[in-house]
């Protein structure tokens, strides 16, 4: 009986110590992790938005439950960026950030999160692929060449680029149907 009780005590004490250590680590790294994610967003915003001098990560407005980041230069609107998702990736959702300039054309695309096959689908992260979206608008056929579009697929990986195309198309649709009608942006975008 005594042995059985000591079993409980020792397990309880060890888990308590573990919990304490974990909470200390969590508190110690919490700010740092948040900062790392914020830096990641800022980096992505700087890539997808035209040259700006404000802080788009702080100047976001909520449109239909989506954060729309606004880039301004000298107080004048130069572009917006927001997240878009495709669930048609090879494994899991692909989250991208799309920047759109005032002409309604894609200025830049950045891949935020994906779980595509390393070395195959993960090539959607290459700069040359992301650059191929620049300047495209909703009248362009944004699809992989296999589907009759203008975007290069990779040998052995068509699904991932196709999913990115879908996300970009969704973004352009959201832009032309929702964002441009937003009263806070009227006059600035067309």
């Amino acid at each position: 009986m005594k042995n059985n009780l000591s079993m409980i005590y020792i397990l309880a004490i060890i888990t308590a110590i573990a919990a304490l250590l974990l909470s200390i680590t969590y508190n110690g790294t919490k700010d740092k992790i948040e900062e790392a994610y914020r830096q990641e967003l800022i980096k992505a915003l700087n890539v997808v938005l035209p040259e700006h001098d404000n802080h788009p990560d702080k100047e976001d407005i909520n449109i239909d439950g989506k954060s729309v980041y606004i880039a301004k230069k000298g107080g004048k609107l130069v572009g917006v960026a927001f997240k878009s998702t495709s669930s048609k990736g090879y494994s899991g959702d692909i989250d991208i950030l799309v920047g759109i300039d005032l002409n309604g054309k894609v200025y830049g695309v950045e891949i935020l999160k994906h779980a595509e096959t390393p070395g195959l689908g993960s090539k959607i992260e290459t700069d040359s692929f992301k650059r191929s979206f620049k300047g495209l608008g909703k009248e362009d056929k944004i699809a992989v060449k296999k589907d009759g579009g203008v975007i290069d697929q990779f040998s052995g990986a068509t699904i991932s680029p196709r999913a990115v195309c879908e996300a970009v198309n969704n973004a352009l649709k959201f832009y032309s149907e929702v964002v441009v009608k937003n009263p806070q942006l009227i006059g600035g975008v067309k």
């Binding site: 397990l11 974990l22 680590t25 790392a36 070395g119």
Partner: protein
């Protein structure tokens, strides 16, 4: 304290090639040398810490609850590595993040806690952790290297053969992991058998 404990862990008792333990992370992350190296070092850190702690508490833990205690110790260190990596090595964490929690169920670590650290002193357990950890890192790097060269035509992200080389894409997909590991183990046992005569 015997240094041979450490060297045994690196090759003679190599967790992947000789004991064939921890194959799940081995097969999953070794699409490139960098991933293999990162996973190996993260596992080494957890292994060293858990070996030390298990060895320290071996006399106060009743044998009936030893496995839950080991798992709590290992899981705590894994979570600490996960948080630390996310905070300070954010880019690597983005690649390995999915696999870090898998370290908990890596049977090399539980195997060393149960089979070595719970029967030996702190110093030996530390050396065993370093040895087995480095052996694991070595195995993952070799397999990652083979798969990266054959499947992507590069090593550590550096292109080897130029653009005319068409890589064997299957090697960086899951089947390539099994094929690669199988052939490496074949080569090792072939040469060791020949040495023995």
């Amino acid at each position: 304290m015997k240094l041979s404990v450490m060297f045994d862990g690196i090759w003679k008792n190599n967790g992947v090639f000789k004991q064939v333990l921890g194959t799940c992370p081995t097969l999953a992350v070794t699409t490139s040398v960098k991933n293999g190296l990162g996973m190996g070092l993260a596992t080494t850190f957890v292994l060293i810490c858990s070996n030390i702690v298990v060895s320290l508490i071996k006399n106060i833990v009743p044998s009936k609850v030893r496995i839950p205690v080991y798992i709590v110790v290992i899981a705590s260190f894994v979570t600490i590595v996960d948080l630390m990596m996310n905070a300070y090595l954010h880019d690597l964490h983005k690649i390995l993040g999915l696999f870090i929690p898998l370290i908990v169920v890596n049977c090399i670590i539980l195997g060393r806690a149960e089979g070595f650290a719970s029967k030996n002193g702190v110093a030996d357990s530390l050396l065993d952790g370093i040895g087995i950890g480095l052996g694991f890192t070595l195995a993952l790097s070799i397999l990652g290297g083979v798969r990266e060269i054959l499947g992507n035509g590069s090593i550590l992200g550096f292109n080897l053969f130029g653009s005319s080389f068409s890589p064997a894409i299957a090697m960086i997909m899951p089947p390539g992991a099994f094929i690669g590991l199988g052939f490496i183990m074949f080569v090792i046992s072939y040469f060791e058998k020949r040495k023995r005569g």
